[in-house]
Symmetry: C2
Subunit: 282 residues, 2 copies
């Protein structure tokens, strides 16, 4: 089967093969041009609630693909991951194991834990719109300074779906000059499947989002602001993981996710992003 | 072309034909079993922002179908409205005209106002899940008392899309006994394209939603509560109309909508609802 190849480096398939052999430590910068995905794997009885959670909250939880029950070899839609020897249990570089909503341990594969009752979900992450920002001269500050993006809990409700209820959205924050905000919105707007345009911006957004202290992010590292800069907030792929944690012991059985920074590489490219997240009519 | 027919009464096509001839005053109870749609028609330069607004906020703005630019005869997907002589300018019983985000006047057709620059959007409404609730012995109180459902402005942000920014969500409210809430959630959960399950419930939801006084709805009529009843809140189809109003004079040119209660009848049936709002993989 033909494997798409990035002009600058490894193909998505190559990185997945290297991950399977445990030769990959983290995926930042690997297989440039290909979309990387957050991963969540749940017992099937919670799959419909989680699927609907994604469909009801597509900006926080943009669904790129999913497995059928018990099948770790095929992702739908088929364009998401194309080769037939794909294995969801090995082809992500590192996995996190959760029990009762709490982190238990990390592993390099799920071969001994997977059962034919599991369903896997691939969820878009923000890497791609950050590339687009950099290419138009709007490189995010945390990339310039080599720090982690700031993330905050908000009061924006994650719209309930079955057992996933009472959750709120996590946002990531990038400082930009006030005069650049409309351009930042324009550049990120097309990328519906990787959180799209900001959900809010400006200093008065803090009150609307219920963020008390911009200096104290809940995750990641604090960012400095120049005098003419304001915070710009995007929906964040940590949200679905927090939804699992807040479901806690309402979930019986183990839940699996990717290890932060150790993403699953898909065969979707930045070019596919323009159509992802939009319905097809035929 | 075959026209789907409701077993209990007129077909969707028949109601649209009667609407075209101005023989329909309002559509409550007409063409039972068929989905009725909220209507919004905008100049094409705002169509992509509005389309993305629906895709980013699918619980408040569940998109059932749309036209291509300037074509009032065809709705995509083609299953939404099937006959070839359909005309979006005449087949809704009554239309509202907006200018600069303000109501201007109502008309029975748009023939003299339509230009080849307009794009129309059909958005799901709550009629169908109310039928499902009634059929399982959970008839909404406003239907029992013959009043209008209560609607409230909330502090939940409508996630920004281009010119549509700074808006918040409207919710509808139906009182239910606390012990029935989980059943109410279960019954409405499948109907993703008509707002789906509640967004919040219980007396402590008022603070989360920013609703100060349950006795004073912003739209519709107040509802009485028995001692064991709590408010249950759903996303509401008034939200997209409020988004247009709050965009105000950022929109140049006239905007059209249905007259409240005078909906556009689609060929989608309650049975289609189970798949609407869910992606198809093929």
């Amino acid at each position: 089967m033909a494997s798409p190849r990035s002009p600058q480096g490894q193909s998505a398939h190559q990185v997945r093969s290297l991950s399977r052999q445990n030769h990959v430590t983290n995926t930042a910068g690997l297989a440039p041009g290909y979309l990387q995905a957050n991963l969540l794997i749940l017992p099937s009885r919670y799959a419909e609630d989680f699927h609907n959670l994604c469909l009801r909250n597509p900006v926080s939880c943009p669904l790129l693909g999913l497995t059928s029950k018990g099948n770790p070899h095929t992702i739908y839609p088929s364009t998401c991951i194309q080769e037939k020897d794909f294995d969801l249990r090995t082809d992500c570089p590192k996995y996190r194991i959760y029990k009762d909503g709490k982190y238990l341990e990390s592993r390099t594969d799920l071969l001994n834990l997977w059962t034919d009752d599991y369903v896997g979900f691939l969820i878009g992450c923000s890497f791609s719109f950050e590339d687009a920002l950099s290419e138009t001269g709007l490189k995010p500050k945390h990339q310039i300074t080599g720090t982690m993006v700031s993330m905050y809990k908000t009061c924006i409700p994650l719209l309930a779906s079955g057992i996933f209820k009472g959750g709120t959205c996590i946002v990531s924050m990038r400082p930009y000059r006030a005069e650049d905000v409309e351009r930042v919105r324009d550049v990120t707007r097309p990328y519906l499947a990787t959180h799209g345009e900001p959900v809010d911006w400006g200093w008065d957004a803090l009150e609307r989002l219920g963020i008390r202290d911009i200096e104290s992010p809940d995750f990641g590292e604090r960012q400095d602001f120049e005098e003419d800069e304001v915070p710009v907030f995007w929906a964040c792929g940590v949200t679905p993981q927090m939804a699992i944690e807040s479901a806690g012991d309402r979930i019986e059985g183990l839940v699996f996710a990717h290890e932060p920074g150790h993403m699953l590489i898909t065969d979707f490219t930045v070019k596919d992003l323009e159509s992802l997240g939009k319905p097809r009519y035929n």
